[in-house]
């Protein structure tokens, strides 16, 4: 294909830092998990105990994946794979959308498209870049696992499994970019599909069948509908096989081919989801800064809300199933009682509390995304248009922070209501609805801290707002999910606001911690409002 190399090189050059951070960050997590398991769980008995707990508790199966034996490698793979695969998927979807739909929207694609290259060349180069990035990720990750002390053969298969998930999502995002009219919309849909793949295999794994010795779990058929499930099925550290990767490869070829055909047949700038005509005049709500902030965030909140309603349905629907499975299995119940002394907590509640915690992170993501839009408004020149009216900078920012905070609460409430609603149907206790709505909102104060910190970053260090906003959230998420396992000092773990959230209903809500976090959030926003007055608008 004429010009493919040139376009590929230019895209790779544009991405050299972003991709380095992604690959380096994922490898760092890999080496951390691998060495944590090899050093802390060197003893067979200790590994047996965590695997037994996991096998007995579908909450772990849902969140982490399938136990696959007692070897060090198998335990590390069980602990880290699904999460790593999600990161590889997100790296891939953001990469593809950045070079396809987002470039098309910004007009850069038109400039390149006027050169003597085929219509689909740019997309082909992007797909190639995505494949190369995932291969690089595979190589670096294999080295990371080996460096972390895991066996070489299994490490190569495990790293390939991560890369294969990424490659599938390269093709998925390439199709999504043809369908959606905006870069933002394409990113949202593609990222939702990555999370959907995680949830799908989560349900499949949670409904799986434990082996008699409780050392491994065979997933239910549902997991076979998820690319992350295919990666997991390679079983790198027990009975490694590359066969499931044929599914990944097949999906990649089919979807990438579809995307290229769609691209070569459609007009520049057109999309399968059409752009419709709208109102000739603004409604009364669309005539203020607050109205604008809500209008810009509306679709995002709807997307996150739909996501957490699904998550809540899973939590509420699976919770009782989980509890029943454990209760019916005397061996399991005895095992849990023995392994986790004092773990009187209802098994269902442990599961639900874990999912609500993830919901807190999703709420924070919705809020952070709203605040980050301020930076896009500034860079793309729309802030200049707004701030040349009598609207003050502080009010402009506050309108967005209010909408961001509302997003956090809406997403949290939706999750709680969905969870409680499904549970109330099975338990017959309407009070469950409110109980779990409150439990979900217990994570909101921590999420609001992220909203506030992102606003402060925007006011003080505008050029790195987006990296800081998402970066801090990812660090908070990793500390929450892996801080315990990596045996990080408590003060490091405590740096994440999520550390101070109460896992209601397993523990009581800590009102003092919640109030302190809200106070910090308010203070941060006030500081941001002052700092924003003191700087130039910058591109």
């Amino acid at each position: 294909m004429r010009g493919l190399g040139v376009v590929l090189a230019s895209q790779a050059r544009r991405d050299r830092w972003v991709l380095s951070y992604w690959v380096g960050g994922i490898a760092l997590l890999g080496i951390g998990v691998a060495s944590a398991i090899t050093t802390q769980f060197a003893d067979d008995g200790e590994r047996a105990s965590i695997i037994a707990i996991a096998t007995a508790n579908p909450a772990f199966l849902f969140l982490r994946g399938l136990p696959d034996g007692l070897s060090v490698g198998a335990v590390a793979f069980f602990q880290g794979f699904t999460f790593t695969a999600v990161l590889a998927g997100l790296m891939s979807t953001f990469l593809v959308v950045r070079h396809s739909r987002a470039d098309e929207e910004a007009g850069r694609a038109e400039l390149l498209g006027a050169t003597p290259i085929a219509r689909s060349t740019m997309l082909a180069a992007t797909i190639a870049l995505g494949v190369l990035a995932n291969l690089a990720l595979g190589v670096v990750l294999a080295l990371a696992y080996i460096a972390g002390g895991l066996p070489a053969e299994g490490s190569v298969v495990a790293a390939l499994a991560v890369g294969s998930v990424g490659i599938v999502f390269v093709a998925v995002a390439a199709v999504v970019a043809q369908a959606m009219p905006s870069g933002r919309g394409a990113n949202g849909v593609a990222a939702a599909l990555v999370v959907g793949a995680y949830l799908l295999r989560g349900i499949g794994d949670a409904l799986g069948t434990p082996s008699d010795d409780l050392l491994r779990v065979t997933p239910s058929a549902l997991s076979w509908f998820s690319p992350i499930g295919w990666g997991q099925a390679t079983r790198p550290y027990s009975e490694p096989t590359l066969l499931p990767m044929l599914l990944s490869l097949g999906a990649f070829v089919a979807l990438a081919g579809l995307a290229l055909v769609l691209r070569s047949r459609r007009d520049l700038g057109s999309s399968l989801v059409p752009v419709r005509a709208g109102r000739p005049a603004a409604r009364s709500g669309g005539r203020s800064a607050l109205g604008l902030a809500w209008r810009l965030q509306r679709a995002t909140v709807l997307g996150w809300t739909a996501g957490v309603v699904v998550l809540g349905g899973i939590a509420g629907g699976l919770g009782p199933v989980v509890a029943q499975a454990v209760a019916e299995n005397d061996t399991l119940a005895a095992l849990i009682a023995r392994l986790v002394p004092g773990s009187t907590g209802d098994t269902a509640d442990v599961f639900i509390a874990a999912l609500l915690g993830i919901g807190g992170v999703l709420g924070a993501a919705a809020g952070v995304q709203a605040v980050l839009r301020l930076r896009a408004e500034e860079v793309e020149g729309r802030a200049e248009l707004l701030l040349a009216t009598p609207l003050s900078r502080a009010r402009w920012m506050l309108a967005t922070v209010i909408v961001a905070s509302a997003s956090v609460l809406i997403v949290g409430l939706a999750l709680g209501l969905a969870t409680g609603g499904v549970l109330a149907r099975s338990s017959g206790e309407p009070a469950d609805v409110l109980r779990y709505a409150g439990a979900a909102l217990a994570h909101s104060p921590a999420a609001l801290v992220f909203v506030s910190v992102t606003a402060l970053a925007f006011a003080v260090t505008p050029r790195i707002t987006i990296a800081l906003g998402w970066g801090l959230l990812v660090i908070g998420l990793v500390l929450g999910q892996f801080g315990e396992l990596l045996q990080l000092p408590e003060w490091v773990q405590a740096a994440s606001p999520f550390f101070h959230s109460s896992a209601v209903p397993v523990v009581e809500f800590d009102g003092v911690a919640g109030a302190i976090m809200i106070a910090i959030a308010v203070f941060g926003v006030a500081a941001a409002a002052v700092a924003l007055r003191r700087r130039d608008l910058t591109a």
Binding site: A277, G278, A281, R287, E384, L385
Partner: protein, 301 residues
């Protein structure tokens, strides 16, 4: 600088300087705009016009020097001065998901609300379809959104940064009518533009800047006076004598005629000399604005 500073000064900058790291965008800029005038603000690309405008709007803070708009400091009182300003940026960026009509209403409402009749009239005159999503608009149509929002509500000061870029000639004349209308209502306009005919038709005074400094400021008549008149004379044999006269420039022979440029204050002397040398035909033309600008834009620094 030519022309005294008029009594009611609406915009005033003194020794305005703005640096970005090592580069200097504004280097001691002195700008005066009087109430009620349409003031052309000219200069080559990168001269600092947009930076000046951003300082005047309080979007950027000067490194040194002062700026005042309506007698207020734009950085400290940004929201206050914006009550009386309508602004059209050079490169209008809109919210992709909002329709043009919604964007117009948002911007006009933040300034206090559009005059409904005027809004409808402007939409018709600019032949604008307000129902389309902004992501589908061309550059000219995005420009129209900002223009309609600016003119749909009266302002005391209009700051327009290359407002007609992307407009077709018919739309440009609609734009000129609007400028004439607000001028008639007593408003002040700061108009940055590269369209010389537009500047010539609309502006009472102009300021030309280059590399962050004012190189010329005054009425067009004054600027013309400063510039040279072109002569074409037939029947002169001695080119060297002509070229030796003070105030004569760029002497060239074209067929049996001679063409040259003359400084305004040297015209009487040159006319006498030309008559003395036996000229048979003389034609003279005032300097075109174009040659004036070209001299300021690209001449030696």
């Amino acid at each position: 600088m030519l022309g005294g500073v008029p009594a009611t000064t609406l915009i005033e900058t003194r020794a305005l300087t703005k640096r970005f790291g090592r580069s200097t965008a504004l280097d001691g800029l002195d700008l005066h705009v009087a109430e009620g005038e349409v003031h052309g603000f000219l200069g080559p690309n990168g001269a600092g016009k947009s930076t000046t405008i951003r300082v005047l709007l309080g979007l950027m803070r000067p490194t040194s020097g002062t700026a005042s708009v309506f007698g207020l400091d734009p950085w400290a009182e940004a929201a206050q001065i914006h009550r009386d300003i309508a602004y059209v940026p050079g490169d209008v960026s809109l919210w992709p998901g909002l329709t043009g009509g919604e964007a117009i209403d948002l911007l006009a409402s933040l300034r206090g609300g559009a005059d409904a009749a005027r809004r409808a009239e402007l939409i018709e005159q600019f032949e604008f379809d307000p129902r389309k999503k902004a992501r589908t608009y061309s550059k000219g149509n995005r420009q129209k959104v900002a223009l309609i929002a600016a003119f749909a509500r009266p302002a005391r000061l209009y700051i327009l940064d290359e407002p007609s870029s992307g407009l077709d000639p018919v739309m440009e004349s609609v734009f000129r009518q609007q400028i004439e209308r607000v001028r008639g209502e007593g408003a002040t306009v700061l108009l940055s533009s590269h369209v010389l005919s537009e500047v010539e038709q609309l502006c009472d005074r102009v300021t030309i800047i280059r590399e962050g400094r004012v190189v010329e400021s005054g009425s067009l008549a004054q600027l013309r006076h400063l510039s040279r008149t072109s002569f074409r004379v037939a029947g002169i044999g001695d080119l060297a004598a002509l070229a030796a006269l003070t105030g004569v420039h760029a002497v060239t022979r074209v067929g049996d005629s001679v063409e040259f440029e003359v400084d305004a204050d040297a015209i009487p002397a040159v006319l006498t000399a030309v008559a003395g040398q036996g000229a048979t035909a003389v034609s003279a033309a005032p300097a075109s604005l174009e040659s004036l600008f070209l001299r300021h834009y690209s001449g030696p620094r």
